[in-house]
């Protein structure tokens, strides 16, 4: 199982990401709220570099108990990365496409080895 170097842990800030390359494979690695996540950088829509887009918190409608609409807010805990080509959004914690959670990016294991991070590219 090829292990591909991602970054020194100290150099990989919270909220940051890396794109690593192995053969023809591209993997996006995210450092999000203390955890590392890795997904194939290949959008399920038209193949765009989905891991390279902006990170946005989920937008939510706010309803009152009587079901009237009060406004919108950003989710406190759910964040998405957004494919820069056309806007498909992916849950940063699961790699699911949030428009249709039956669709999910291929994910990869992230390993800590001493001061370094690796991703298992298989």
């Amino acid at each position: 199982m090829p292990e591909v170097f991602v970054s020194r842990i100290d150099d990989f800030a919270e909220g940051d990401r890396r794109i690593v390359f192995h053969g023809g494979l591209e993997i996006g690695v995210f450092h999000w709220q203390g955890t590392y996540y890795a997904y194939e950088n290949q959008c399920l829509h038209q193949g765009g570099p989905c891991c390279e887009g902006v990170i946005m918190h989920k937008v939510e409608d706010v309803l009152a108990p009587d079901k009237t609409w009060l406004g919108q807010r950003f989710s406190a805990d759910e964040a998405h990365f957004v494919c820069p080509w056309h806007g498909y959004e992916y849950d940063i914690r699961t790699g699911e496409c949030v428009g249709n959670r039956k669709l999910r990016l291929k994910s990869f294991e992230v390993l800590r080895r001493g001061d370094d991070l690796y991703v298992v590219a298989s």
Partner: protein, 405 residues
């Protein structure tokens, strides 16, 4: 300028580069062997507002020119002479190329910037010839001053012909018609119809003029005589009273881009324009494909009962529609069975023409066509290039102009 923390293919904001953004598209081009056949994109865009100071130089009317240039700041990206639309095409920054485009560098003093940027994405995507259209001017049909629509579109057309089309064999256009003035519309076809790179004329569909009005017949006759197609380009208009009931841009976009083309297509067919001008080729742009079977079924069904209200027709409405051309983007891909049926009813192998709409947010790559499992290799090549080659008489044959190396 700070954007979200990312390394965006290691691009800093100052060096935004379309080639890097579209690296995956280039890979698709190579994997699918696009170097084997030409690809024509019948609907692509540039941002003419970024060249507005140059375009305003082409205004004839000295008073209007003074008004336009005085209200435009030096090197302004926009001029107040041009009406704008409420809308959020960039999805609140989720599509970063909208905000970053102005940082992209082009070689100084060589190719005109709009042409250089256009050819950059064309090479990345594998497109040989692009039919180029403006962006904000798609809304000019609802400008409150008809004389400004005429003056500005004439200035734009002149600028495009002289600065871009005259020098670029891979860029062509169907030029803007100021359709709110039927006489000016006719004059535009006369003035620009034989310019290099002009392969037809465009009606931006967002407007309130019925296409069957008698005043337009001379223009259709002239276009038919010159062998130049007429195209209708969809867009939205949130100030339209009906669309004003929609509260989210997704709804305005999804319905608006089809709405005006539905109106124009209904008038076109039911008033028998195809019978009056049987050789005039008609193209429908940027409405996707899902509306076409709806229109065919709806109008065939009603025509069978209300035949007396469409006496000019000699065949079913859908039969006239099958003679027309349809640009593919934004192609609805969430139900492959419905898409396959749609392609069957429109005779996609001869009538469908690929369009990207690049660089707009809902662009389609050639792979949206090339990867369809139900199309033959011949059909794919026709849709991606062969049909448009014949439609516009480009004489490409099998020639490949894009750099897919």
């Amino acid at each position: 300028m700070e954007i979200q923390p990312n390394d965006f293919r290691r691009m800093s904001v100052e060096e935004f580069d379309t080639t890097k953004l579209l690296a995956h598209a280039s890979k698709q081009s190579k994997e699918r062997g696009y170097e084997r056949f030409p690809i024509v994109d019948v609907d692509s865009h540039h941002y003419e507002n970024e060249s507005m100071p140059e375009i305003l130089e082409y205004l004839d009317d000295p008073v209007l020119k003074q008004l336009a240039t005085a209200t435009a700041r030096p090197n302004a990206k926009n001029a107040r002479i041009l009406n704008t639309m409420v809308g959020y095409q960039d999805m609140g920054g989720r599509i970063p190329r909208y905000g970053l485009r102005s940082f992209e560098k082009t070689p100084a003093g060589q190719t005109q910037r709009d042409a250089a940027l256009t050819k950059r994405w064309m090479d990345a995507v594998g497109v040989d010839v692009a039919v180029l259209f403006p962006t904000p001017m798609l809304a000019l049909g609802v400008h409150p001053q008809v004389e400004v629509e005429i003056a500005l579109s004439r200035a734009y057309n002149r600028w495009l012909c002289e600065k871009v089309l005259a020098h670029e064999k891979r860029l062509v256009s169907m030029l803007y018609l100021p359709f709110n003035d039927p006489d000016a519309t006719y004059q535009f076809v006369k003035e620009f119809g034989e310019k290099k790179g002009v392969v037809g004329f465009l009606i931006t569909s967002t407007r309130y003029r019925p296409v069957h009005a008698n005043q337009y017949m001379k223009t259709y006759a002239l276009l038919e005589e010159m062998g130049l197609p007429i195209a209708f380009h969809g867009s939205y208009h949130w100030h339209d009273q009906a669309q004003g009931m929609l509260n989210r841009f997704i709804s305005v976009h999804a319905l608006g881009f089809v709405w005006y083309n539905m109106i124009h297509l209904a008038n076109w067919v039911i008033n028998g324009i195809p019978e009056r001008f049987p050789k005039l080729k008609v193209i429908w742009l940027e409405s996707g494909l899902a509306w076409i079977p709806f229109m065919m079924q709806r109008f065939d069904n009603e025509y069978m009962m209300r035949t007396s209200e469409a006496p000019a027709l000699k065949k079913l409405p859908s039969d006239y529609m099958r003679d027309m051309y349809w640009a593919s983007q934004p192609m609805e891909i969430t139900d492959m069975g419905l898409l396959q049926e749609t392609m069957r009813v429109i005779n996609a192998e001869t009538q469908l023409v690929y369009s990207s709409d690049y660089p707009h947010w809902d662009f389609d790559l050639p792979s949206t066509i090339y990867d369809l499992p139900f199309l033959s290799e011949t059909a794919k090549r026709n849709i991606l290039g062969g049909n448009a080659d014949r439609l516009f008489n480009l004489k490409l044959g099998t020639k490949k102009l894009a750099n897919v190396a």
